[in-house]
């Protein structure tokens, strides 16, 4: 195995071989903002919020997919990175119809929390106000495309933790959206097991339990990580 020694934000840390920068940082109490990462779900490096600077390269690296190496020097909080992160969040708010005031995830939404922590006091880009629908055909779960940020955590949870493969991405670019099966109404899906792992994984209010109030919609997203840990590492106690 062997361990690696590296420097993150000036702090010397040691990390297990083959872990990602994100893992090494988290283990040492250093927070890197993320949206598409979720413990238990494999990483895709899509949201670009966890981009960090690595000494010796002008490129930025997604912390969730880049492995540590001996002597690596990582900066997670430069002015440039902070600026890019805030812009990323602003772009997301401008992209779809995120109305915090009337959202079921208000108060426990990762997008909203990031806007707060990254100091977003307003969005400088023109709002797109696209017309997206909702899928309310499932007996007790609902999907609102207006609030979706396309992190694909639900897709990955559905395929790789539940193994059902119901959730998929259709379309491309800004027309990308999450579908059930081959774009069937969710309620007609023959693959969906109604396990609601998609709901657990969703960072916003895009996936919700029908009829739940804002207070009832708080979810313990870390559950997925526990399931995978138990399954893969046979570790039952956190």
């Amino acid at each position: 195995m062997g361990a690696k020694t590296l420097i993150i934000d000036g702090q010397t840390v040691s990390a297990e071989n083959h872990v990602t920068i994100l893992q090494a940082a988290t283990d040492n109490g250093i927070t890197i903002p993320t949206l598409c990462h979720l413990d238990g779900v494999y990483d895709v490096g899509a949201c670009r919020l966890c981009l960090v600077e690595v000494k010796g390269s002008t490129k930025l690296f997604s912390a969730c997919t880049t492995r540590v190496y001996e002597g690596m020097e990582v900066t997670t909080q430069s002015e440039r990175l902070k600026k890019y992160r805030r812009m990323t969040i602003e772009l997301l708010f401008a992209e779809r119809n995120h109305v915090c005031a009337v959202c079921v995830a208000n108060g426990h939404c990762e997008l909203q929390a990031l806007a707060t922590s990254l100091g977003m006091d307003h969005v400088r880009y023109d709002y797109c106000f696209p017309k997206w629908g909702m899928d309310l055909t499932h007996p007790f779960l609902g999907m609102d495309d207006n609030r979706c940020i396309l992190c694909t955590r639900c897709v990955r949870a559905c395929w790789h933790i539940e193994g059902a493969g119901t959730k998929n991405v259709a379309g491309r670019g800004s027309k990308s959206h999450i579908i059930s099966d081959l774009n069937e109404p969710w309620g007609d899906s023959e693959t969906c097991t109604s396990c609601a792992k998609c709901l657990l994984s969703c960072p916003t209010g895009a996936l919700f339990h029908k009829g739940d109030t804002v207070g009832e919609s708080e979810r313990d997203r870390s559950k997925l990580g526990y399931i995978v840990n138990a399954r893969e590492k046979q570790q039952w106690i956190v």
Binding site: V44, G45, A46, C47, R48, L49, L51, L60, S62, T65, T66, R80, K83, Y84, M87, T88, L91, L92, A94, E95, R124, Y125, D126, C128, I149, L150, T152, N168, V169, G171, R172, G173, S174, K175, S176
Partner: protein, 544 residues
């Protein structure tokens, strides 16, 4: 199959040749103007005039002068290499009569025109000469000898050494040294390795790879097979976009022919070397030209890129080491082995060796495909070969590299065309698209066009590319509608920087390039469209 057998096939083919040959271009461009009917009419006209013993009508690939098509070339005539332009089906009798001294009022191309004279044809050497649907034609032109020699005389390491020494760099755009890539794949541990040929040519106005695949499919297959030998792969995939049906059908035919002759499949040239090639057809996404997205597509997944590292050379198709090169790169391999690495390295500039094929389009007299030595000044291409802007206009800029590239203004036309010089001017070599703009072209509109393209083609996986291109496009719309202020322009520049630095793959990372490069050289065109901010208040003030 042995070397002798190749020679027998070549000799047999030569013996079947007739006194005259009417070469009819049957590539996509000329086909769209009834080249198939022209060929049929020529054939029946040869019969009618009783010239069957002396005249053959031959299907050939692209001759390059696409803007003048349909083209018919003549061999064996008093003026060997004569070229008829803008041929129509009803011209067949006159064309055939001209072989026996008859009058023919058809436009004739000048084979000594700089458009042809300044070319150096290596990968396009057979284009417009051989019948792409007959493997015998390719073999008669020296085909598959390089593969034979590589298998029987060279070790994989020696092949890689040749390619490295030739100085060949990837023709897909980035210009990564091909030999280095090959040796990385060769060294990567793993019993199973793959070869992938990227034929997902998607830049607007670019058709170099299509032309190579349509005109000389075996050249690409041979290059892939040599690569497979060099890196230790036994399976290849040729990824072609669905919009190239003619290329796909010719490749399928070529693979079948090569297999039948024992040039692909098992025991190639009676050696233990086995190599199969399967075709994979794209579904219309530009992003699948990006190597990791392309591989996802080959695997049958949604064609979206993934972060690198790991690079395909270490972990590509199904996690195995994979060599992925562009069509034109593979097309260079057999000529390099045939004529030697030193010969190839003697062409071009210090860091950019060999030739490059360009699709010369836009506001230019002579449209078409050209293959030129690296380092040729841009001015020679557009002014001498291209004949300058049409209708007495002047050239304002040349766009290279498609949506990932930039515009090179007229004052830099003396720049040599090589990887480094183009990058210095904020553009890239790219895959070979070269769009000429004249003085009537609005550069902001050009930037907007490319941004719209990137916005539509973004796969949607990463946020900066998916949403950033939308906002940049909107800002460009606002500017061209004369509704934007200086603050909007600043916002656009900030977004360019952010999308470039943070996007996941090359599509997003280079999407701002057309804006950045037009801003660099034509900033005044943007500024002329700006409005003063009527509601601009003094800078943030605190009340007294």
């Amino acid at each position: 199959m042995q070397l002798d057998d190749l020679q027998t096939i070549a000799e047999k083919h030569q013996a079947s040749r007739k006194k005259f040959c009417l070469r009819t271009c049957m590539s996509a461009g000329c086909m769209s103007s009834q080249a198939d009917v022209i060929k049929k009419n020529l054939e029946s006209e040869v019969k009618t005039q009783g010239l069957e013993a002396d005249v053959e009508v031959r299907r050939v690939g692209c001759m390059g002068f696409c803007g003048q098509g349909p083209l018919v070339g003549v061999d064996g005539h008093a003026q060997d290499g004569e070229l008829f332009e803008h041929v129509k089906p009803e011209d067949a009798p006159a064309v055939v009569r001209s072989l026996t001294g008859g009058e023919c009022a058809l436009e004739r191309g000048d084979p000594h025109h700089p458009f042809f004279a300044k070319q150096l044809r290596i990968v396009r050497a057979n284009g417009g000469i051989i019948d792409p649907e007959r493997i015998e034609d390719y073999i008669a032109a020296g085909g598959y000898v390089a593969l034979h020699n590589a298998l029987t005389e060279l070790t994989p390491a020696q092949v890689i050494e040749q390619i490295t020494r030739s100085g060949l760099r990837g023709r897909g755009g980035a210009g990564f040294p091909t030999g280095l890539k090959w040796s990385t794949v060769a060294k990567s541990p793993g019993a199973k390795k793959y070869i992938v040929c990227n034929g997902d040519e998607g830049d607007p106005g670019a058709f170099m790879d299509r032309s190579i695949l349509e005109s000389d499919p075996h050249l690409v297959l041979e290059g892939m097979a040599i690569a497979a030998h060099a890196v230790g792969a036994d399976q290849g995939f040729l990824y072609v976009r669905a919009e190239y049906p003619l290329a796909i059908s010719r490749l399928n035919l070529a693979i079948k022919q090569a297999k039948a002759l024992g040039l692909l499949g098992g025991a190639i040239f009676e050696s233990p070397f086995t190599f199969n090639i399967d075709i994979r057809i794209g579904a219309g996404a530009f992003v699948c030209g990006e190597e990791t997205a392309l591989m996802a597509s080959v695997e049958g997944k949604r064609g979206t890129p993934r972060p690198r590292p790991p690079f395909p050379a270490e972990s590509g198709l199904w996690g195995c080491p994979t060599l992925i090169n562009n069509v034109e790169t593979f097309a260079n391999i057999a000529p390099i082995l045939n004529r030697g690495a030193d010969w190839y390295a003697s062409l071009g500039t210090e860091k950019s060796k060999g030739t490059k094929v360009f699709a010369l389009t836009g506001k230019i007299q002579n449209n078409g495909l050209i293959e030129v030595p690296m380092g040729i000044p841009l001015r020679q291409i557009v002014e001498e070969m291209g004949g300058g802007a049409p209708d007495g206009g002047s050239i304002k800029a040349v766009q290279t590299g498609g949506p990932s590239g930039g515009c090179i203004p007229a004052q830099h036309l003396d720049t040599p065309v090589d990887y480094e010089s183009l990058v210095k001017l904020g553009s890239i070599m790219g895959s070979g698209g070269m769009v000429v703009m004249d003085d009537k072209t609005n550069m902001v509109e050009i930037a907007k066009f490319y941004m719209e393209f990137c916005m539509d083609e973004s796969c949607g996986k990463c946020i900066p590319c998916r949403t950033g291109t939308v906002q940049m496009f909107r800002l460009l719309e606002k500017i061209t509608a004369r509704q934007a202020t200086a603050a909007d322009l600043a916002k656009l520049e900030e977004l360019c920087d952010m999308v470039r630095a943070t996007s996941l793959c090359g599509l997003g990372q280079t999407a701002p390039n057309p804006v950045l490069s037009t801003l660099r050289f034509f900033r005044h065109e943007y500024e002329e469209l700006l409005q003063s901010d009527a509601h601009a208040a003094p800078p943030p003030a605190t009340p007294a």
